[in-house]
Structure formats: C-alpha cells, structure tokens
Amino acid sequence: MKKKISKLPFRGTAEQERQLHEVIGKYKSDPSRLMTVMQEAQEIYGYLPIEVQQMIADGMNVPLEKVYGVATFYAQFALSPKGVYNVSVCLGTACYVKGAGDLFNKISEKLGIGADECTEDGRFSLTACRCIGACGLAPVLTVNNDVYGRLTVDDVDGILAKYND
C-alpha cells in the first residue's frame, strides 16, 4: 500500500529536537545506522514528517530521498501522526471473515480518513492491524488500550462517541 503523507502541521518541540540531535550525534559516524536513527526518531515524534526526515538527512549526511525511500519501504515507519485516539481494526483472518472489513470501512467513512491517516483535528487516527490474539472476540478493534469485541457496524457510532471528550 502506498503510504499517505500527512498534511497536518508539524508540532515538534525544542525538547524533541534536542533528543533527536542526541540520537543523531550517537550514530552519525556510521551511515549504516540510518534505520536505527529513524526508529528512535519515530519514538520521539510518533511519526516521520518531512521536518524530522530533513533533520535526519542533514545529521546523517545522506540525501533526503534516501531517508524517504527507507521510510516508505518499511511498514513500521509512519508518515502521519497518531491521533489522540488511535483506532486499530484487526483485519486478521478470523476478524476479517466475521466482517472486520465492513467495520473498517464504516469507521473510515465516519472519520473521513483512510488507513494510516489522522483526522484534521488530530483526535482520531485509523490503522489496520493483523491478529491481536483475541480471535474468540472477532471481530475486534482497539482504541488506544481499550478492546472492543463481537462487533457489528452498528456499534461503531457508539464506540466513537465515547471518545468525544
């Protein structure tokens, strides 16, 4: 799947930048540690927007396109931030045959975002995951650490409403 690039404004802090430069300082003599730096950067920022990738490229002395190429090749790197609430729908085999696909589409439609995207207000993001080991409850989804099981599309509105604080 082609990765979606977030249009949300970058909200990085001076503290996050300090942390990133510390990481880069540790690894910059070894270009083969680019991915290590990217992983740690994602832990600091939650995702890898252009501002962060540019800092990594400059710090590691590699072209920005190289960083972007790696970021789009590996599924673990995100180009969109996670929302305050991350809705993760299990699309593993058991959940899928129990209608998780419809569930995913309904949430996508309701929030107006696709996979790995974040709503403009930064509240909700949506991801598809593989099995979370709760097949007995299929189909399942999680909202941050809350797990919801045995769902139908009619449950979607009620679940999302709980996070309207």
Binding site: I5, L64, T72
Partner: protein
Amino acid sequence: MEMINCKINGIAVSVPKGSTILEAARYAGVDIPTLCFLKDINEIGACRICVVETTGARGLVTACVYPVAEGMEVQTNSAKVQAARRTTLELILSTHDKKCLSCVRSNDCELQKMCRDYGVEMAEKYDGFRPTYELDLSTAHLVRDNNKCILCRRCVAACRQQFVSVIGANDRGIDTHIGTPFEKQLADVPCVSCGQCEVVCPTGALVEKDDTGKVWDALADKSKTVIVQTAPSIRATLGESFGMPIGTNVEGKMVAALRRLGFDKVFDTDFGADMTIVEEATEFVDRVKNGGVLPMITSCSPGWVKFAEYYYPDQLDHLSSCKSPQQMTGAIIKTYYAEKNGLDPKDIVVVSIMPCTAKKFEVGRDDQDAAGVADVDVALTTRELARMIKRAGLDFVNLPDEEFDNPLGDDTGAAVIFGATGGVMEAALRTANDVLTGKDNEALEFHEVRGTDSIKEATYNIAGMEVKVAAVSGIASANYVMSRIKDGTAPWHFVEIMCCPGGCVNGGGQPIQPASVRNFTDLKALRAKALYDQDEAMALRKSHQSPAVKMVYDEYLGSYGSHKAHEILHTSYTGRKKYN
C-alpha cells in the same frame, strides 16, 4: 595480468581476472542484453534480462555482475535463457504504458528493441492491478512519466553520481515507483536540471520537455526574424542521431540543415563563448589585481550555477558574473545586431541548440534580458534538433557542408573546446596569458586541464604570477570544490566547473546512446576529441583574436569589462530553497 580461460557458447576466450560474464562475452563477439546495468554507475544485477546458464551455478546467473572463473562454460542464448528473458520482458510490459506509436523514444527505446528481438507481444498477458501515475511537468527541462518506467534505477544511480540524489525508489511491491522525497514535484526539490537521468533512461519515462513546437511556430511566422545559434559541442554529437560514428564533426552539415529548416540566420554560440572568455578573463585579472573574491569559478554551466544556488547560497560571490555563451550570444543578437540591422528585439526569436537540458531552465532565469526581452527565447537539445531535421525530411548525412552566417558566426579554437571539460579553462588561460603579458604568446595548449578526469589541477606561471587552476566536471566534484572553499582550504585562483561528467559533450541534451554502447565506449573522450582536433586545425585559437569579438567591442561595447559590457553580458545569482 592474471588471465582466466573460459568458454562462451563454446568459443574459448582468455580474459583478465575479475571480468564479468558480460565482459567476457564481448571477447567472444557475443552481445548479452542488459537493462539495468550501466558500467561504473549502476551495477545492481536487478532486472535479470542478462541471465545466462553457466557451469558451477544451479540457476541462471546475471552476466552483468557475475565474475568468470577458470574453466567456466557459459551459454548466453539457450532455450532456458531465452524463456527466462521472455518472461521478464512480459512482466515488465504488464505494467508498461505501451504508447510506442507516439513515444519520443520509439526506435531508440531499449525495452522496445528487446521485445522485438525476443518476439514478445504487446498483448496484455497478465491481468491485475496496474498502477498509474500523473506526469510531472513541473520543470522547464523534463517530462517524468512513471507509466513508462521499468524501475531499472539507472536514473537513480545517475542522480546519485551527480550528488543531488533528488530521485529514488519510493514505497514497495507493486507500488514501487521512482519519485522525489514526499512525492514533491521535481520543481520543488533541488534538481539541477542536468538531464543525466534522461540520457541513461532506457525507455520514454524521462524525456526532455519538447519545445520544437515553439520553433516550428516561429519559423512559420513571417513577422519574426528567427535566428539560431549552436553550442560548441553540438557539431561533435549531432551526427550520432543520424547513425554517424561517435566523434564525427558535422559542423558544415548542421549549418546546412538549419538553413534548410528556414532559420533566417545561423550563428555560432562559439561567438558567445569567445565573448565569455574575454569578459571572464578580464574579470579574473580584475579580481587578482584588486583583491576580489578568489577562487573565481566559471558560470557557463546552468546546472552547476543552479547547484551552487541551492547548496552554497552563501558562496555565490565566487561565481563569475558573466552570462553563459548562450545568453551572451542572445544578448548581442538582440542589442548590437538588432540595432545594426534596424530590427525590433521584440520581433527577433533567438533559438539555441544546446547539449543541455538545464539551458531550458537558464533561458527563463531573471536578469537575462539585455534588450528588455529574453536574451534567448527557446533552447532546444541536440535531440530535438535531430527530430526537427527528421520531420523536415532532410537527408542529413548527404547534405553539403555550409558556413555559418556573418557576423556572429566567427569562432576560434578556444571557443570550440568549450564543449569539453577543461576547455573553458584552457581558452581563458590562452587569453589571460596574452592580456597579462601584452603579447601574442606561443603556448597555446594547456594539456594538464584536458582529459575526462573529474578533477584536474595545474599551476601555471602567467606574467610572473603563479596561477593555480582546477577544471572540474560532475556535480559530485563541484561539491568537493565548494566544500574546500567553504572550509577555507581551497588552494585555487581560478576554477572551471561543468555540471555534467566530461563536460557538455556528455550533456543531458545529447543524443542517447544505449547501454550496450555506453558500457563499452568512452563517449566523453570520443566526442571531446572531435573538438580538440578542430581547435588544432584552426588558424585563430584565442578568443580575443576573433574578428567578430573585436568588431562588437570596437563598434558597440568599448573595452572589455566596460559599463555597457556589464549591462549586457553580466548577470546575478540568487540563493534557492532546496525543498518547497
């Protein structure tokens, strides 16, 4: 040298140790097809077109990177090999936009040739998801059509060789495509417009933006005086587009063809090159005498200038303020020549034939409008001119040799060698030596700055002064020079920088030679030789001796570096943001 004995299709050959099967096959007179392989640039063994059968390996191996071993027996064209190549071609075609009828690369497309050679049909054999991409038309010099891309990555390697690396492989699997960081338009990333990606592309995925329509329109407009100028290196390369051997000098036929296309005047950018030299040498002498910024760096190459503007915006005062020969020729046509002939500059269309895609960018730059209108209206590449000649039905190879028009068709040997790396430096040294010593010196050739090496350094004693020079080609080497300047360790007084490796003879606008030729031929050296041969045969070999240059200064500009010369022949530079 240790030699390896092996057999290619039963033919015994002895090749140097370390040779690949692809190289060994050449000794046996066998051509193995390749797509992704470009010698020294892209050796990744990815496309699997060059697969062969060999003893000592279970499956098929990629000939482009597999070294030969003692006693090895290779089959390059067995049934198994042919079947594998055919399948690979079918899979490549399954996502290829097969618009061969109108594709500008039709007939010199490496994929098309291979499909023809292997009898692979254009029919849709494989159904399924086929990614489609929008064209990137954002730049003045390039059309990027990923629908025709076969992901060989030759362009990525060429862009990396040119240091900027603004394109690479993004995403993965069926979504893999060649793109820029964050899928930006090419105009919004620090692409220097060199076009090296275009000359290595095996298909029509990367082609120059075609401006021939503008030229046909101008030629048909009776109210316009359409004047063409041709860059020094074009005469050494245009013949390739008509099947002539690499390194054939076709100056006379080129002039004849341009006249038959209907241009009102056929002038020579060599004139502008000679102008550039006298202005640049004057500027250099002035900087040396008056404590100006050194090293001074040449500014003829718009790709190099654009690179400096992106990457070293705080060092731009090292660049000579001289316009490039293309722009100087255009500026003189629209000022001096227009006044002399009672023409309104607005009714003149100046078309330039350039080895270069960045020239398309340069014509649209700010501060390139001496007469209040653009100095040059349209910049065509060598390839576009070849297409115009073909469309006009001219039998190029059998055209008579004709001479450039007066007065801006005069040239010197100094101008001719502008097309090769080191040529501008050598031309400038010839003039600076005469100007500083005040006499007509014998030492015409500065061999240390010749040749295709990316960095050449020399020290010359000119009028009792030690002048340290460097001639540099390719952006990676340009970056090295700039980093030395930035950290204060640059030893040079005068540096020539050309954007493309080997200089303009290897420019991004030159005729395309397939990988099968590029991998085994030194294009740069063969093409440059045609220019140095012409220089040697010429009576006038110093720019300041050009009759046209003398006339323009006597009648119009006054002295070298005069106020008027500065207004017409000099320009300015601006820092650019890398990513927008």
